[in-house]
């Protein structure tokens, strides 16, 4: 049986920062286009969950998760464990962070390809106000499930790597912006590495020219220059959301898989402190197993926010908050006790009368039976607004908070914050779906839970 990519999906957040808005706010040239930005309640973990949930839409339960990012929500704690919990994968299995440089993307993909598993590439790109990193970055995530099977949509034909130590880009832990050396120095360092790794990978795959070529690098000029040399037969239509760091190769590979025909080759080049080139070939299965939400569809549209809003969301503008107490940090033991509820939105269903309870209850609301309960996983269920309110008093980084009482298909009700929406988007009866978010951070602890967003 062949081994390769079984399914994939991308996640691009809803919000955009237009270059023109950024430029006018800072009194400099802006230019056309925009970048994708994570909402105030998103981070690389939550975006990774969104991409992974979509990639596992067929109900697959990978035995290993490999999570790559340059912007981990935690150090000294495995972020992939929270993703693992949110995916409701039980306690068995492996979950690993590959955090640091954009090259981690290749690490996650290779690890998943080698032994089967889910590679999750997620990134949130920041830079100093006015910097090219701020302007040209983009926030996004992508996930690729690897394994054996008749439904493999793309196989790895060959790969090659080159590594070099040179000071092009760096960042110390805790800083929000990277340092960069003079651009031409990096260009000179990268181009030979890219040529070397690419030619060896193509040779290993036994092809001279790939149908599709992706060159992803934090050194944007090196990527552009190399792409002019490594031309594919089919022009790439990369989403214009900005360079997405460790997620960039993932978003662009997903975008190619959205459009590639059967039996086409893809050269994926990632140049970060070296170069890793991978050649893949699509199979017949690609035509019938593409992602449900194409990259292009997610990249288009989006809601633009003001630059001040962006700065506030990234913690770069310390705004006056509502005169309300900041929430307390979520406590460890109760969070652990309710892992499947808090992280996977699993409630209970009464074995006697069928009443669904979220959060899980031991004593049935419907019939009073005690401890006659089964699991009720509601994260994927459709919901509707039973009633809602716009809360202008509650603590929020992005007031006003919208609270919706959500009734779930098949039973269950919970009051959730509405994400990615303004008051005008919500009404009684509005269809909602759940989305994993970081509600707030208190005492250094991120409070992950679910919100609801309009479908």
């Amino acid at each position: 049986m062949p081994t390769g990519i079984l399914s994939y999906s991308a996640y691009i957040p809803r919000y955009r920062l237009a270059h023109e808005e950024l430029g006018s706010a800072l009194g400099m040239g802006g230019g056309a286009g925009s970048r994708a930005i994570a909402s105030y309640d998103e981070d690389t973990t939550t975006m990774g969950v969104e991409a992974a949930r979509r990639a596992l839409g067929n109900g697959a339960r990978p035995a290993a998760l490999y999570f790559a990012t340059t912007a981990p929500a935690y150090f000294d704690k495995t972020n992939a464990a929270a993703i693992h919990a949110a995916l409701d994968l039980g306690s068995e299995g492996f979950a690993l962070d590959i955090a640091g440089s954009a090259r981690g993307a290749v690490g996650a993909l290779r690890a998943a390809a080698a032994s089967g598993g889910l590679a999750i590439l997620s990134d949130l790109r920041t830079g100093k106000p006015g910097s090219s990193d701020e302007r040209d970055g983009g926030d996004a995530a992508a996930a690729f499930l690897f394994g054996p099977g008749e439904r493999v949509i793309a196989e790895v034909l060959g790969e090659a790597s080159a590594t070099a130590e040179f000071l092009d880009r760096w960042r110390r832990p805790g800083e929000m912006a990277s340092g960069q050396w003079e651009e031409r120095f990096g260009l000179e360092a990268y181009l030979p590495l890219i040529r070397d790794a690419s030619s060896r990978a193509l040779a290993a795959a036994g092809i001279e020219q790939a149908d599709h070529v992706i060159v992803s690098s934090p050194h944007s000029r090196a990527a552009r220059t190399a792409a002019r040399e490594l031309v594919g037969r089919v022009a790439e239509e990369a989403p214009a959301i900005g360079y997405a760091g460790a997620a960039d190769p993932g978003i662009r590979l997903a975008s190619v898989l959205d459009r590639a025909g059967a039996d086409q080759s893809i050269l994926l080049v990632v140049a970060a402190d070296g170069c890793d080139a991978t050649v893949l070939r699509t199979t017949e299965a690609i035509t019938s197993h593409r992602a449900e939400k194409p990259v292009a569809e997610q990249a288009s549209g989006g809601r633009e926010v003001r630059y001040a809003t962006y700065l506030t969301w990234r913690g770069l503008l310390d705004r006056e908050l509502p005169r309300r107490p900041e929430p307390a940090r979520p406590a460890g033991p109760p969070s652990a006790r309710s892992e499947s509820w808090k992280f996977a939105f699993v409630g209970t269903k009464c074995d006697d009368c069928g009443q669904v309870h979220v959060p899980p209850r031991r004593v049935c609301v419907g019939c009073g039976a005690t401890d006659h309960m089964s699991r009720a996983a509601l994260a994927g269920r459709a919901g509707r607004v039973a009633t809602y309110t716009v809360d202008r008093l509650a603590y929020s980084l992005s007031p006003p908070m919208i609270d919706a009482v959500v009734d779930f298909e098949g039973g269950g009700r919970y009051t959730l914050e509405v994400a990615d929406a303004g008051p005008e988007d919500v009404d009684i009866g509005t269809a909602l779906e759940l989305t994993f978010r970081r509600l707030y951070t208190a005492g250094g602890v991120h409070n992950y839970f679910w919100k609801a967003r309009p479908v």
Binding site: P322, R323, R324, P325, P327, A328, R329, P330, A331, P333, P334, S335, R337, S338, W341, K342, H357, V358, P359, V365, A386, T387, Y388, T389, V390, D391, R392, L393, A394, Y395, M401, D403, V405, D407, G411, G412, R413, Y414, T415, L416, E417, I428, L439, N447, F449
Partner: protein, 399 residues
């Protein structure tokens, strides 16, 4: 098993209540000392060491009975601290009454007090227990604002009409409070100003929300047969009912946000204990938990004062005005008198006490004989509810 009640077995013979408001210069100790002092001063020949036991209601201004015994220097008496959300003061009173009815004590005092304005925050702040961070962070006005669209939708009232109903409730309570020198807000406010106020949550504007305040109140309770030894005009306790809900509303799709089942249950129990058959005509007045204006509207129906879906019309017809058929919140209610949590339930009883004694000044009702107090804590679909019936005379059921 039954709720037997203690009808006419105990009576209030003295009361005290501070002015409610922003007491920047006074601590919870000061407020408790003042309320207890006024309560004792209202009865001849009694001092604080003559009181056999105390119940102190406070939601968050202190823990343990020593919150009261320390400032007042009450030595080695039983002092119980009670907490039951916004119904805290009522529950302190309820348990104090039972202690007298049981024969355990001759003279007890229920005290309620709250110091909310030291927090520095807007609105009510209830520090939660350590938790997993999954509970809704919605504010109190937000959860109560859910009543308005649900009510409007169920009974075919337009949003604009419902906003007018809400404004009229606020207008009425401000008007009553303007006549009350102890109230936090003492100015009448026009319907137009109420309706145009900045929004806090949903359709609730600033004037649809009760006052956040500091204050304290106290009641001295004895056996009814002893009452006339302390005062010539005691207030007799006819019924004390309490219901804690299953808190299923926010998680049960069957709940529709137009009623408080806990209020219906506690009212039914109270009416039965007091022997009332037609409460809206038998009652002379009611003090109800108008934390937000839609709450008072829904309560009119839950307490049986209005038919289902008709409460809004009764409000607009002025039925609950000071000069209406059944005056509701003649003292201004939480809206205008203010809402220092632990004190509120006792403040409601204080208005009945004044009205029965003919001491309510400019807002005095004509010969009231029977009053209801209603106090709830929590949120729609998940609350605790208290209902009492008190009367000016012993052994007389209705008016």
């Amino acid at each position: 098993m039954a709720s037997h009640g203690i009808r006419d077995r105990v009576a209030i013979v003295g009361m005290g209540c501070t002015k409610f408001g922003e007491h920047w210069g006074r601590s919870i100790d000061d407020l408790l000392i003042d309320a207890v002092g006024e309560c004792l001063d209202s009865v001849e020949d009694i001092e604080r060491h003559d009181v056999d036991a105390y119940w102190l209601g406070t939601m968050g201004s202190g823990t343990s009975g020593m919150t009261l015994s320390r400032p007042l220097q009450i030595e080695n008496k039983p002092v119980t601290r009670v907490e039951n959300y916004c119904a805290t003061g009522s529950d302190a009173f309820r348990n104090a009454c039972y202690a007298v009815a049981s024969g355990a004590y001759d003279v007890v005092m229920a005290v309620g007090g709250e110091k909310l304005k030291d927090s520095g925050y807007s609105g009510l702040v209830v520090p939660p227990a350590s938790n997993d961070g999954t509970a809704s962070e919605a504010s109190a006005p937000a959860v109560f604002s859910l009543l308005a669209p649900a009510y409007a939708n169920k009974y075919g009232v337009s949003e604009a009409d419902l906003k007018e109903v809400m404004s009229r409730i606020a207008w009425k309570n401000h008007r009553n409070g303007a006549l009350n020198e102890r109230a936090q807000f003492r100015a009448e406010v026009s319907m137009e100003k109420i309706a145009a106020a900045p929004l806090v949550a949903g359709s609730l504007g600033i004037f649809d929300c009760s006052g956040v305040s500091d204050g304290a109140a106290a009641a001295l309770i004895v056996r009814s047969e002893d009452a006339l030894r302390y005062t010539d005009r005691p207030t007799y306790v006819k019924a004390l009912a309490f219901a804690a809900g299953t808190a299923q509303g926010p998680t049960d799709p069957a709940y529709d946000f137009t009623s408080f089942g806990e209020v219906v249950a506690s009212a039914k129990d109270a009416y039965r204990q007091a022997g009332l058959e037609d409460p809206p005509t038998e009652l002379s007045m009611a003090e109800v938990h108008d934390c937000f204006t839609p709450t008072e509207l829904v309560l009119m129906e839950d307490l049986g004062f209005s038919q289902r879906g008709e409460g809004w019309k009764d409000v607009m017809d002025g039925r609950f005005d000071l000069d209406g058929e059944l005056p509701v919140n003649p003292d201004g209610g939480l809206k205008s008198f203010g809402h220092p949590i632990g004190a509120s339930g006792l403040r409601m009883l204080f208005e009945c006490w004044l009205q029965f004694r003919g001491e309510a000044g400019a807002r005095q009702l004509e010969a009231p004989t029977l009053g209801l107090t209603h106090n709830l804590g929590g949120q729609p679909g998940a609350c605790v509810s208290f209902v009492s019936i008190v009367g000016a005379e012993r052994g007389v059921a209705g008016a």
